[in-house]
Symmetry: D2
Subunit: 398 residues, 4 copies
């Protein structure tokens, strides 16, 4: 397919700070694993591109919907010295957008649809993992693609989905056809664009947190999109009580709508006391830490575990944070508790299980609080630097 | 507490068949692990007893509700030679009844309530495990009370709950107070009497079957009380599709009401073909075999696994059967599948999780299709020898 | 690298039996998943080939050692109608040989060494998985490469290692450099050629069997190369007793040398009675079934589990067999036992762990009972149709 | 059995500090869970006692060997204000000693030997868990006796083993008869007295740490008795490299003798750099933290995980410490790592597996560096307040 298309592109200057050294995976003037130490003066531009051509194991996708993620915001946001906020893998200029759904337009001969185990023929509705794992390094070979040593990321160092078309490897695509029973045509794509963030939450609480048993109690700290998705998943997994701790009212309400049973405003009540009260002194089996403020919230988590009577509590570290977690070993010992770190969304059967859960009624679309057109993406990315009321702003591409 | 009470008592003659030898746990003229080889001419009599007195680690319970279990029926049912159907642990005469709930009347000084970690004081609403595990043998010490080497069973070789009062060790009691938020006074006891059979199902699919991940597909074979409870638990655990296979319409309807998404009548359609069709060729992650007819149903299970594309399927053997399961090793190998056996309901945090699930809305009471008085228990046990339409007949004791 | 080389090639006629239908993965006249229904009149020929050229993610390997596997024997062996014995994936003509080690000669630019996470530069000593998993199908994406839906197999439908050179994807290679501390130059390659069969055993007992805890007791049925390797691995994993059941004396002795504590000749003593006697009535935690004769050996396994006092026994089905396993569900229930199927050797960190175990002293080379030259491979493959005394015949290629 | 015996008794004054409040499990003037806040002026006295009489589920034991534990030292050691060092459960006066072995002299009628599943008859050689779990509280019912809510501890609030006789519940006894194949008469008791501390290590690395797979690399921090036992267990479990980090030479040597492959002196070399060098940049799969100095050692552990390439590392917190562990969440996330707390030795099949490992050659007796008589216990407990060279001082009682 030939032609031109527009892409919402992040442009920034390669201007490494003095202390920066080119790492083993970095490429001079092209990409780095330490974005905030290198890229300066970010700006979002709508640029024109040739429609890309898929290789033999790839497909050309017509993008239908793509949500704005916090990392999009942080790539476009500069600190006082002009460096971008986002600290991770980046390679600019790059079309942004990685929470996407679309329709297969063309497919290489060796591009297989995992849903049918047959080659893509065009017309299939799909979503994709954001992480393009290499399938060849040691972590990938051992079954841990979220920890790929040669990772590319859509919309970070590989052109993303705020564009009419994009090329993707068949390997990371997942069919959205199972959603056709539960959603009409347009809504399939909205729901489909939420599979990726929902899978981040699923990977955190089910794969890394080890899941729960029906009847367990859980606490989710922070009602951002990942925390809200965790509430939905954990309620669906049989939690007898899902407690969301979130200071902002709109987010708490959304969490309650999607699965939480009770909301705590930790700026108004004592978090630990309230959790112990709600659980009649039992505490919780799983804590999802999604605030990124461990030094603030961890003592409360520890108090719930120490004073509660639940053994085997798992704390899932989901948000990134620079601050140390002040862990009291004795709490882990006396309560048989454990702490795990969570990263990514790939592998472990996560995407297909999120999709089949959505097909069976786990509706995440209320998380989309605003729908926009492609031309409106730049201003909305900027808007989200300050706006805390929208949960998910999603671009529909016609 | 002094006084008299009536108890629905199973009486039978100790008349061992020639091939029977007294086993290591058997007691001449008192109890055997091989009931159907020993006990003859069963009859149910309502006898008068002294109200029993609790020891220091025991409580006296006023029974409020008790369901009739299939094993009650089989203990009272004779074959052509007059021997009872029930093949397991039995010690007659014995008051029947083990699916019970009640109120604590008196408690020994060392009888602790696990819910509060304080001594029982009277008035607590509770249910009990049916298995009185010894807490001292190797399996109990290692954490497997369902496989206790010195087991007593309520209503089998220890007086049971078809009576106004009974004595129980505190160890096996579980508080029903959490149900007070969801049920009114009478219904707490009805729901509470279903905790034991629901825990049998929970132990099978969650503890022994390893549970599922949200989005998984499951098949339950047979819509008896245990199979129906499994449907409820697995739907609550996040199954995207719960398929019940059951020939009888009333039972299938009840399964659909409590959690199943689709029912198959295996006498009318090909079981395997239908499961593959419903799952769009994927098959299922968990099969709960509760029919007791392995030679009939297993080939169909195997076909679903072999032709379906799901790896890691688990088959949980729940019902007892004399027939061999004809297993094709290659199916387990090529599909990475496994077979586990399930027995019991004790330990592993099962009872408290079933109770907290019920408190959060997992309502099992539609399983009770008939309520009776104590005097009506004998005739209803007999009735159930032929009646296949009632799911659970429950005695309310006033 | 240009030039010619000789390859030990399996040639056979594509002559499908009447009942054969071309399957979804079969290619007319080129390959089939049902070898024994299609290929006739097998013969081994030493043919001349161009030295192959590696693609960007591949390496050219100089082969140093390659063992003969039972499947090599069965591909070259014809039944009374002339059809080959081997029932699985085959595509002839094909150079045989898949238990190999060698040295990297040339490498594509994107061919990374997992050991160093850097591109191969030539000179690295390596071995390979035999299974060329696709990394794109659903099983591969979910982390189960042993169940790849687009599998190629070295020496079955892809040219193998009974040749001076071969091309392999970097993805399936594993460095043997860690062995340099424990083996001298030649022996590295001998040990390295045993990594693949040892990994089949490791996958069976550790990954699929779930491993053991130090102090557990295990039984391995059949002292072929996989069974012997399992003895070595399980002893190393801390088994307090490894029992090998094997009728042939040479094999039993080899098992005892590599890790077994006791050997049973099941043709001379009652298998179950002897295991119970050796374990003082406890039975075993893990049974590795590698005989391929389930109807003969399974009743003995069941007797050990039923009469023994060990709970949670795992039976690992490792050998392929057409006969059904006659499983008594009650044994699985009463003893909390389970049956799993094992296939393959890829993924799950198996290869690197086998290599580091060998580097630390798990010496498998006594399994090599005969060393031969490339020209001697055909006659030795034929010889093994009847000879049961050799354990592993290995070709050294100079 | 009637008569008198001597017991090495810890006596101290009940003199609570002002901030102390009687806890729910404390008994005024009799026992407390906060020893160091209550007991003052400890002294060790050899007192005379009546030989105790066993109840129906108990046995009378003739003690044969008992090791001195660090907690014995800390109970007898006073700080500047005269309060004991030991912070946990204590009830004085109390005969000390909990790492013991002995011979059954008399047994209650319901005192069963788990090894034979028959009543004790006298003459059996046994050891015991130190923790007398109640078998009735919620943790015990759920299978977690190490977290019993009504715990008694031998030699802390229940008379211990520095005496000729003692009474113990059959529930916590484990037969040492399996050791008779590997040890002669006296050495059975020496080995048997080490089962308890070895089980603490086993519980930490196998039960709580999740064990390892053969070929994994492990690091043990601190070469006290528990750390040394962990080296022995992990080597036996198949670790390809066991690294002990211990500043004191005698302890490092003992660790090397019992299972460690390499010793690091962290006061002389950089711990993290050395581990990375030894493992060729891979890091380790399991870290056992037994120093009790988390703020000192944790940054080194984190560096190994961050810079190493091993995913899924587990850090087992084994030693008690008041200081916080300064955990960087991102390390757990990027490396898929986790932290667990370990406590106790009971349950989970640990004792019998330690005993069968010892019977198969896991010889821990080199840990006993000094043997003493009962009369010498008091002076040796005092001696160990300053002596860091002895590993285990064990009392033989004739």
């Amino acid at each position: 397919m030939k032609g031109k298309m527009k892409g919402v592109t992040l442009v920034a200057d390669w201007d490494p700070k003095p202390k920066f050294e080119l790492g083993s995976k970095d490429i001079e003037d092209r990409q780095t694993y330490l974005g905030s130490l290198v890229y300066r003066n970010p700006r979002i531009e709508i640029k024109e591109y040739d429609i890309p051509t898929p290789g033999p194991e790839e497909v050309l996708l017509e993008v239908k919907a793509c949500g704005i993620c916090g990392s999009d915001v942080h790539m476009a946001q500069a600190d006082d010295d002009g460096y971008i906020y986002y600290p991770g893998l980046t390679g600019f200029p790059c079309i942004l957008g990685h929470e996407l759904s679309g329709v297969v337009v063309e497919a290489g001969k060796k591009a297989f649809d995992k849903q049918t185990n047959k080659p893509f023929k065009g017309g299939e509705r799909v979503t994709t993992e954001e992480m393009l794992w290499c399938a060849s390094c040691k972590p990938c070979s051992d079954g841990y693609p979220n920890h790929c040593e040669h990772l590319d990321e859509i919309g970070f160092n590989i052109n993303g989905a705020f564009a009419k078309y994009m090329v993707l490897p068949a390997r990371t695509l997942w069919s959205l056809e199972p959603l056709a029973e539960s959603y009409n045509d347009d809504d399939i794509f909205l729901a489909g664009s939420l599979v990726e963030p929902t899978s981040v939450a699923y990977n955190a609480v089910i794969e890394r947190g080890g899941g729960i048993r029906p009847g367990d109690r859980v606490v989710v700290l922070s009602g951002g999109p990942i925390g809200i998705a965790a509430c939905a998943i954990l309620k669906r997994a049989g939690a007898s009580m899902v407690i969301i701790s979130e200071p902002q009212e709109e987010r708490a309400k959304l969490a309650l709508k999607l699965g939480a049973d009770v909301a705590i405003n930790p700026t108004e009540v004592d978090f630990a006391d309230r959790v112990l009260e709600l659980t009649k002194g039992m505490g919780a089996d799983l804590f999802m830490e999604a605030t990124g403020l461990p030094e603030i919230v961890y003592p409360g988590i520890e108090k719930v575990i120490w004073e509660g009577r639940t053994l085997n509590s798992t704390i899932v570290v989901t948000a990134r944070a620079e601050a140390k977690i002040p862990v009291t070993g004795e709490v882990l010992q006396v309560r048989r508790a454990n702490i795990v770190g969570a990263q990514g969304h790939s592998g472990h059967g996560t995407f297909p299980r999120v999709i089949s859960s959505m097909a069976d009624g786990m509706d995440m679309t209320p998380m989309i609080t605003k729908k926009i057109r492609l031309e409106e993406v730049p201003e909305n990315i900027i808007e989200l630097q300050t706006n805390r009321e929208e949960c998910k702003i999603t671009c529909l591409i016609k």
